[in-house]
């Protein structure tokens, strides 16, 4: 039953993809009438102007270009032109660093806040104010104070991925079932031991859900941050190709950003499944 459902779902996915590509192909065919112009003039103009080619590339253009990129993902033509593999590696490294720093801060802090109702109440207004700030709004401030653009980008990742983790940790720690804590207390388990053997396993699924939300946000933000500071990374690649109005390359980058984001999410989803327990 499940296997047939999976098969049918897969079939629908493929049909949808084919329909999408078909419509895309039809919509971007060159249909505009070719303007008459002198050959001398036409030589100086782009294909959009001379052959009525749509400004939007079709799926075939994108496929050909993607193949070109996949054939040599790690080329390095100097500081401003590197292969897609290298750009993605830069972005993932930035996200990884900022995200790990956020984990190191958010989880212990979340534990403290969650275990102490006083701190929880006292820090709440600050968290509520800081949480909804768009991460990119920190960028000018970060550039100004940190005075280093790559560290600023990491800082922006850090600041945007910390809140979901912090809030989820606080929530997970605070909502551990009272009976379990009472049992631990009856058995005279110390605070630290209680935190690690009772609260941590109980709160782990909630904490990991927070981490999963965070990695998604971090990946969303890195692209925008790199477009802003430039230099390296997939966001810079998008910006550089946009500069050249190469929509083909921008579409390829969008596709890759989606795939990497999905992979990151899947990794965290697997971790979440590992710590989930039946009640």
């Amino acid at each position: 039953m499940t296997s047939s459902l999976r098969f049918r779902a897969g079939l629908v996915s493929i049909v949808l993809l084919a329909a999408f590509l078909g419509i895309w192909h039809l919509a971007t065919r060159s249909t505009a009438p070719v303007a008459t112009m002198s050959p001398e003039y036409a030589k100086l103009m782009g294909l959009t102007a001379t052959q009525g080619k749509s400004a939007m590339p079709g799926p075939l253009d994108v496929g050909a270009k993607l193949w070109e990129h996949l054939k040599r993902p790690f080329y390095d033509n100097g500081p401003n032109d590197k292969g897609l593999g290298i750009q993605l590696a830069y972005s993932i490294a930035r996200v990884g660093t900022g995200y790990l720093l956020a984990v190191l801060v958010a989880i212990p802090l979340g534990f403290l806040i969650g275990m102490s109702p006083l701190l929880s109440k006292a820090l709440d207004p600050f968290i509520q104010v800081l949480k909804p700030i768009s991460p990119l709004a920190w960028m000018p401030l970060a550039l100004y104070t940190i005075k280093d653009s790559s560290v600023s980008a990491i800082f922006v990742i850090f600041i945007c991925s910390i809140w979901p983790m912090l809030l989820n940790t606080v929530f997970g720690v605070a909502s551990v079932r009272k009976e379990w804590i009472n049992v631990a207390r009856t058995l005279e388990v110390g605070t630290i031991r209680r935190a690690f053997t009772v609260i941590l396993p109980a709160a782990a699924p909630t904490i990991l859900t927070g981490m999963r939300i965070s990695i998604g946000i971090a990946w969303l933000v890195i692209v925008a941050a790199e477009m802003l500071v430039g230099g390296t990374g997939i966001g810079y690649f998008v910006w550089n190709e946009w500069n050249n109005l190469s929509i083909t390359n921008v579409i390829i980058a969008i596709l890759l950003i989606g795939i990497v984001g999905m992979l990151l999410d899947q990794i965290l989803a697997r971790f979440t499944r590992m710590v989930t327990f039946p009640e």
């Binding site: 002198s38 401003n80 032109d81 005075k147 653009s149 802003l228 500069n243 109005l245």
Partner: protein
């Protein structure tokens, strides 16, 4: 700018003063007569020229005698004779050597537009390497980012819009940090592009209510567009909308009908035409022929902490600029700067910009060899003009010491010294008068100039 002359030319004057005797120096004479010599092929030749001039001057303190000598024996014989008893080659080598740079590995930021041509091409074409530097040119996302990265010392020097170093030094839109401009990048090379649907609206008087994009508030583009509109009776603050839009977004916005036109740096103008979304209404050259656009800027701190690196960098830029100013090199340059590592644009577009033979977007092919040109000398009068416009449009409030600011930011004196050492003949004065849309600007009377404008922001 007469860059290099031949010291063995009997008609050339090597003494102070000019050929015709009416001017203080040869440079001033040329400025007055509008002469402009092409640079000599190589730097070695140029240094040789400087040394040879000195030797000739020493041998023939009387100009008349030198001329007579040259006329009778001919230049090549004179050179051969001179080389026999004076080691010209060795002297040239010694002369060309300068202090070792304190810092060899430098980072220079640029925005991918043709204005940055000398900064960019100096990397692939080896001008930095020739002056003993290892420079990485880094493409940057926008003017504000380039400003912040240069202030943060991530970049040692950068490509900036000509008014930006002034604005930064004055603390407009940023903390006041002293910046300096040793060289202008390009002159001319911008344009007003309108969306194709406005092809019958060529008179600016009909432009009321249109939306225009400019690259940055502190840009020549902003001042030139405002000037142009105001001269045609439109108040740029109330009659039209001016938006600060990063250059790459301009073409996309023009296509999407979000803006009606823009005054933008080139390759963006030509790109809009190439993609069939706009046409060239006016080259910025027609507003002010010879206007500066972008500059090469560095912080005072870098200049004082690494003076030799800075000098070598300036020499490389001046060298590249001299190379770029020659029409026959332009095609080669277009190919060198087109790849994704540098400007990342179709070669055809860059070639049209640099060679000046371009499609105008209305079906015609136009030719203007001076569409963009390159001249490194940082005229202080340029800075004074920009200050008058900053004040005119309310960017500066209160009194301005025009001269002091201009002299602090635009390093005409240092560049002059450097150019002389390199065998170039920089102009004698750092101020020159010029005309913007037929109206003469006298750098000595900025306040009068400012007062003469009817349309300005009420302060």
């Amino acid at each position: 700018m007469s860059t290099f002359d031949n010291p063995f030319d009997p008609d050339r004057n090597l003494q102070a003063g000019c050929v015709c005797g009416q001017h203080q120096s040869a440079a001033e004479h040329e400025q007055a007569t509008g002469l402009r010599c092409d640079p000599v092929a190589s730097e070695e030749k140029r240094y040789e020229g400087v040394v040879a001039s000195a030797v000739m001057r020493a041998m023939f303190p009387q100009d008349v005698a030198r001329r007579a000598f040259l006329k009778s024996v001919g230049a090549s014989t004179a050179l051969a004779a001179l080389s026999q008893f004076f080691p010209l080659k060795t002297a040239t080598e010694v002369f060309a050597q300068t202090g070792a740079p304190e810092k060899k590995d430098l980072k220079v930021g640029f925005i991918p537009i043709t204005c940055a041509t000398p900064i960019i091409m100096a990397a692939p074409m080896g001008f930095y390497a020739k002056h003993g530097l290892n420079v990485e040119v880094v493409k940057t996302a926008g003017w504000a980012v380039i400003r912040d990265k240069t202030i943060n010392k991530e970049y040692d020097a950068a490509h900036m819009l000509a008014p930006m170093p002034i604005a930064i030094s004055l603390g407009l839109g940023a903390n006041a940090i002293p910046f300096a401009v040793p060289a202008i990048e390009n002159i001319n090379g911008q344009g007003i592009v309108l969306a194709t649907k406005h092809k019958d609206k060529r008179d600016p008087k009909d432009w009321k209510g249109l939306k225009f994009a400019i690259p940055f508030d502190y840009s020549m583009h902003n001042y030139l567009l405002r000037y142009y509109l105001a001269e045609h009776g439109l108040d740029p603050d109330t009659d039209v909308q001016l938006r600060s839009v990063p250059p790459p977004e301009m073409v996309a916005n023009l296509r999407a009908d979000n803006i009606d036109g823009f005054l933008a740096p080139d390759n963006i103008c030509q790109r809009a035409i190439y993609d069939g979304v706009g046409f060239m209404h006016l080259l910025s050259k027609e507003i002010w022929d010879g206007h500066p656009c972008c500059s090469f800027a560095a912080s005072r701190e870098f200049i004082t902490s690494a003076p030799n690196s800075f000098a070598a960098l300036t020499r490389a830029i001046v060298d590249a600029t001299a190379y770029a100013s020659k029409a026959e090199n332009r095609k080669q340059i277009a190919e060198a700067i087109a790849p994704a590592n540098y400007i990342n644009a179709p070669v055809t577009v860059l070639e049209q910009v640099l060679t000046g033979t371009y499609a105008d977007g209305l079906g015609g092919v136009k030719t203007d060899a001076k569409r963009v040109d390159f001249d490194p000398f940082p005229w202080q009068s340029f800075a004074v003009w920009m200050l008058t416009q900053m004040k005119r449009w309310g960017q500066i409030k209160g009194d301005v010491d025009y001269k002091a600011v201009a002299e602090q930011v635009y390093l005409a004196t240092d560049t002059k010294k450097l150019m002389t050492e390199m065998g170039l003949s920089p102009p004698a004065s750092s101020y020159k008068s010029f005309a913007v849309m037929g109206k003469t600007f006298d750098p000595a009377k900025p306040e009068d100039y400012l007062a003469s404008f009817k349309i300005r922001k009420a302060s």
